[in-house]
């Protein structure tokens, strides 16, 4: 019996040891991926004014984190310098995992801006959601053209303290 208790203790300690490696330390700056290009930040509003101009080369953006993917941590929304505007940064599941508790902290992200062409149906859904959020009325028949949305696929992200 005593031997079994000792074995159980060893196993329990091993589990704790392994899990200890994996704890996410949330204090201080959190680094994901490579090095951010903090010396060359472009305002989100500048990018969103002419997003197609920024598709070819990597860009670096900065903003307060105002949204995080709750279950996978696979995206974050960064607030723009312009009111009501934000830009989503999105990674493949597991490539970077952004903590939900990072909301409200500042982040710098370097990566490529991607253009996603929506179908007309999807465009209506997105527009309806935006109108609902803004408290505006929305008539789906008023949308006749599909739109595109933009998101940053980051190669490096720093979440600042």
């Amino acid at each position: 019996m005593k031997i079994w208790i000792e074995k159980a203790k060893t196993i329990f300690c091993a589990v704790l040891l392994f899990s200890g490696f994996a704890f996410n330390v949330s204090a201080g700056t959190l680094h994901f991926g490579g090095e951010v290009n903090a010396g060359n930040i472009t305002k989100i509003s500048t990018i969103m004014n002419d997003p197609d101009d920024y598709l070819a080369t990597p860009v670096t953006i900065e903003g307060t984190i105002v949204g995080v993917c709750e279950k996978r941590g696979c995206w974050m929304s960064l607030a723009s310098d312009q009111r009501f505007q934000n830009l989503r940064i999105k990674v493949n599941d597991g490539d970077m995992v952004f903590p939900m508790t990072a909301k409200g902290r500042k982040a710098i992200a370097t990566g490529e801006l991607k253009k996603i062409e929506l179908t007309l149906e999807r465009t209506k859904t997105v527009m309806a959601h935006r109108a609902q959020k803004a408290g505006d009325d929305f008539d789906p028949s008023s949308v006749t053209e599909p739109m595109a949305i933009y998101q940053l696929n980051p190669s490096a992200v720093d979440i600042l303290e």
Binding site: F18, S19, A22, F23, K71, R72, F84, K103, K133, A134
Partner: protein
Amino acid sequence: MSSTTNWYKLNRSLHRDVGYFCVGLILIFSVSGIAVNHKDDWNPNYRVDVTHIDAAGTQWHEENDSELILQVLSHVEANVEVKASYWSAKDEFKVFLKNGNNLSVNLATSSITYERIEARHIFQAFNRLHLNETKESWVIFSDIFAGLLIFLALSGLFMVKGKYSPLGVKSLWIGLGILLPAGYIFL
């Protein structure tokens, strides 16, 4: 002592010791596997409690963010530090607190949504390992672990001789273990 007996003894000893070594990781991966399998039903990394507060009758200070923050906080809890605030829409103002919680006020309806976030530390740690968020060295370790699991599976076939060996009636279990996943793939 015959060489056959020795081989069986060695196989059983290795199976036992490798099994002991793998217990911790098998538990971690199994628990995390169940957790992330059901991520649509619950959040495996955070406990999020959402409370809706009716603040009807409040005259919101929309032109002054600092005052607006104080107004919002007065409806929830005192002595909390504010990390940042953000206007997500013309009627929607968000306040992010240093303790990780968040507030969102809809000025049109005077309703406040209070989101309390609490990390599930153990699950988070297990999930980080399972989903390989730590990368690099963990990849090597996971590969070794996968190899050990393969060894456990194969060595398990040679643990018992005679009536209960995998060549006897117990082969039904092996067949079932292969047929069930095969069924999911091909049916």
